[in-house]
């Protein structure tokens, strides 16, 4: 399938040049108009739309299978438990984890990272220890570590990013040392689309004795992820950016490290025994899933993974890669447009600025044309500061996007330039 990666961006869109997946019919929301126009949804980095298969899976759970898990002797509870545990196994296979017990369900990427910070981090880190992150992290892979540093006296170190938006590997190597206890890096930058060489970075971090967490929020829906090939200790992602429901996410933790971690929240389902003198904890992953979890969400996420795998993650990656090339050429060719993030290896995220038009004005004008993008700092304020800009306009792609969507984006940018009187003839 990867042969599709190198297809030319120009052409008629016919024959081999056409990598469209033709899945729009699977996503009912894409058929609703916005402001009387066809919805062109290019804000997939924020959240993806949901296929009918996911919506139906959640609905069916509540219609036919709803009960609490892990506690009822009755049939329905056992049935719900089987579905929930089945969802865990689906996630395990999807990211090629060795054991289902290495999959902890969370509310999302943010909670997964906070779990590691508060459980592993508070137990393991001491004053003077170092946590290495990068300039391109989302706030959710910055702030939990800042909180942990305040609690433990550990110190945050930040890897530099090049003008193209690529990780500065020399800076990474220079900052990595025997005090580095944790390296927390994003797989794909949400603001720039840069793909980081996480397997290589993990190997270097492990050689220095550090534990590695990878933020996979922007990666899992767009490329095949194999946590064992990466070799990382933790991998975090959200269901809702993977065509699944909101409120469900995943923390993968290598079993040897997960087993040794203390609980971070107490409650039902995470204990083995409770007495007023002393309670004992359940094994992972239940130890980290206090209270009734998002059962329907987990089942919805499994349905989303089944949907993605039915199409094929490699096909999706090839489609989005081809579309990114097309969009990069088309948007980049507009006079007055400056792209932000020009890394060699990129996922389907196109960040840009239009001369004389603030990203928020652009976002409003595009919206009036039915084109939904994100405008702002993308929860990556330090990265915007690095580039000396308040924010960007960001188009982020998903499997249902087409060249017609990109053409609509280009036409809407042209309209904005017309309205602002900033159109240039190049």
């Amino acid at each position: 399938m990867t042969v599709l990666n190198d297809l030319p961006v120009s052409g008629t869109g016919q024959g081999l040049g056409m990598t469209a997946l033709d899945v729009a019919a699977d996503f009912p929301i894409l058929a609703r108009p916005v402001h009387g126009r066809r919805l062109v949804y290019l804000d997939n980095g924020a959240t993806t739309q949901k296929p009918l298969a996911v919506i139906e899976a959640e609905r069916r759970f509540y219609l036919e299978s709803n009960a609490n898990i892990h506690r009822g002797v009755h049939w329905l509870s056992q049935h719900a438990t089987e579905l929930y545990d089945g969802a865990r196994s689906t996630v395990q296979r999807f990211i090629n984890a060795a054991h289902a017990e290495e999959i902890v369900f969370t509310r999302g990427t943010t909670e997964a990272i906070n779990l590691v910070a508060q459980s592993w981090g508070r137990a393991e880190l001491r004053a003077g220890d170092e946590i290495l992150i990068t300039t391109m992290e989302h706030h959710s892979n910055i702030v939990p570590w800042q909180l942990l540093c305040e609690q433990t006296g550990a110190v945050l170190k930040v890897v530099l990013v090049s003008d193209a938006g690529e990780l500065d590997l020399a800076s990474f190597d220079a900052l990595l040392n025997h005090r580095t206890q944790l390296v927390a890096i994003t797989h794909v930058s949400n603001a720039l689309g840069s793909i980081n060489p996480v397997a290589e970075l993990t190997a270097r971090a492990h050689a220095a004795g550090a534990v590695v967490l990878v933020d996979g929020a922007q990666a899992v829906a767009h490329q095949a992820v194999d946590v064992r090939a990466i070799g990382c200790d933790f991998y975090a992602f959200s269901g809702h950016k993977l065509y699944g429901p909101t409120g469900i996410g995943v923390l993968y933790g290598r079993s040897s490290i997960l087993k040794a971690m203390p609980p971070w929240q107490g409650g039902g389902d995470m204990i083995r025994t409770v007495s007023f003198e002393r309670s004992t904890w359940a094994d992972a992953p239940q130890r980290f899933e206090a209270g009734t979890p998002n059962i329907a969400g987990a089942i919805g996420l499994a349905a989303a993974i089944d949907y993605v795998q039915e199409i094929g993650i490699e096909r999706i990656a090839a489609h989005e890669h081809g579309l990114l090339k097309y969009a990069t050429a088309a948007v980049g060719a507009i006079p007055g447009v400056r792209r932000v993030g020009t890394a060699q290896h990129k996922a389907g995220i196109l960040s840009f600025l239009v001369d004389g038009i603030h990203p928020h004005d652009l976002g409003t004008i595009l919206d009036a044309e039915g084109v939904a993008i994100r405008a702002g700092h993308h929860c990556a304020m330090p990265l915007m500061t690095r580039f000396g800009i308040p924010g960007t306009a960001r188009a982020s792609l998903a499997l249902y996007n087409t060249r017609a969507d990109i053409d609509a984006l280009v036409a809407a940018i042209d309209k904005a330039q017309d309205l602002f009187g900033t159109r240039k003839h190049g």
Partner: protein, 158 residues
């Protein structure tokens, strides 16, 4: 489904109502855009989600705004609103400025008093149809208010 919420009947917001020529003019060439070393009142405004940031400077004598200026950066709506604000308040008493802020806010979000003549500020009334942009148009005014009352924390409208 009610007719007014039916997406099929929604032809979309009228961008020309929001982006009037006066707004483009004040965005391109903001009036009173300069720091004021001799200011006796000043305050910062910042909408961190947008990245809009400005500082408002005032010189108040005998309870009258003798001079006002601003510097900063933001979207066309926030820049034009700050520029138009400086023109609208120069020479007014502090009480009249605060009353105008109150009525201007109503112009963008609620029912403005019918007797009020907003002058050029009327061009910002189009923001009503774009609720998420109200914070852009009001940031300069909240910052102005903070400058007048001497608030230390930066003004925010989000």
């Amino acid at each position: 489904m009610k007719a007014e919420t039916n997406p099929m009947n929604d032809t979309g917001p009228d961008l020309r109502e929001l982006y009037q020529e006066v707004i483009f003019d004040h965005n391109r060439q903001p009036r009173n855009y300069r720091p004021m070393p001799e200011a006796d009142h000043q305050a910062d405004g910042h909408n961190p989600l947008c990245g809009d940031q400005l500082t408002v400077f005032l010189r108040i004598e005998d309870d009258v705004v003798r001079d006002v200026s601003f510097v900063g950066h933001g979207c066309a709506i926030s820049t034009a609103s700050a520029s138009l604000m400086t023109e609208a308040i120069k020479g007014k008493t502090v009480a009249a400025v605060e009353a105008l802020f109150h009525d201007f806010h109503a112009l963008l979000t609620d029912t403005p008093p019918p007797e009020r003549d907003f002058g050029k500020l009327t061009v910002l009334a189009g923001v009503r149809e774009f609720p998420v942009r109200v914070k852009c148009a009001t940031l300069a005014w909240h910052t102005l208010h903070n400058a007048i009352v001497g608030a230390q924390d930066p003004a925010r409208t989000e």
